[in-house]
Amino acid sequence: MSDNNMIQEQAIQEHSHSHVHRDDIASKMGMWLFLFTEILLFGGLFLLYLAYRFQYSQEFFTSAKNLNIVLGTINTIFLLTSSLTMALSIAALQRGNKKLSIAFIISTLGFALGFMIIKYFEWTAKFAHGIIPGGETLTSRPHGEVIFYGMYFSMTGLHAIHVIVGAVLILFMLRFVIKGKLNKDNYQRLENAGLYWHLVDLIWIFLFPLFYLLH
């Protein structure tokens, strides 16, 4: 082995020692693989919905009329806008604009909170009318309506849990960005949290017309 090779090897070693090993593409790939399991989880529920919808189409139409389209639309706009601010926060961080990135992350959290507050009012309004999973008023209704509300509460409920988890993740990212752990050269974790958040948005894009817009 020539001296030249030795020196090159040493240079490579020193170079790699000066970096903490980080593989952003693998990190993103792992995130996507996780997202596919989420898609399958919700996919199964959508499949169940599809089968029941054809079996009890009349009851599904009647029950869907009781859902508030205005609140559903506002929530859709909230989630879409939060997706925008999430994407913008990454764009800002990539450009090294920390303050702007933080402002966008905080607005994302604001829209997530808005979504949950509306969800709270929607659910409590349903509860006030006795529509509670397993409640007497609900179970005395036709079987198809019981199934509609069962699917409504389980699917939007599971989705709401995802909103909360996403918001907690984003809260951690906010902390990392403020502390400078995530920055212009290291933003993959923020992007992964963003991917999760966009998935939550994607699922809502399908939930909204399936539950609110039946006529």
Binding site: H19, R22, S83, L88, D201, P209, H215
Partner: protein
């Protein structure tokens, strides 16, 4: 040496805002046509609009348009599997 460089494609703020406006527009459209009686194709129409919205979210917000092609292959495989499950189950449910 950093693999970071590959993921470093920057998308302009303006592009994101245009995508967002498109998504809001499609939401208004889907709410508006829900009041019209399309009968049997109402569900298909609503799902078609949802699919278009998803394509925008995945391509731009989730950066798939600018990422390495392998991510697109992943997504097509995953969604293709899901579509196959839906297709086969639908046949089972309707022709039982």
């Amino acid at each position: 040496m950093s693999s970071n460089e590959h993921t470093n494609h920057q998308i302009s703020y303006g592009t994101y805002v245009i995508v967002w406006l498109t998504l809001i527009g499609l939401t208004v459209l889907t709410v508006a046509i829900a009041g019209v009686n399309f009968g049997g194709i109402a569900l298909i129409l609503a799902m078609a609009i949802a699919a278009i919205k998803s394509t925008f979210v995945i391509s731009y917000f989730m950066h798939i348009k600018y990422d390495q092609k392998i991510f697109l292959v992943f997504i097509i495989t995953a969604l293709g599997s899901l579509a196959a499950i839906f297709f086969l189950t639908t046949f089972d449910v309707f022709f039982r």
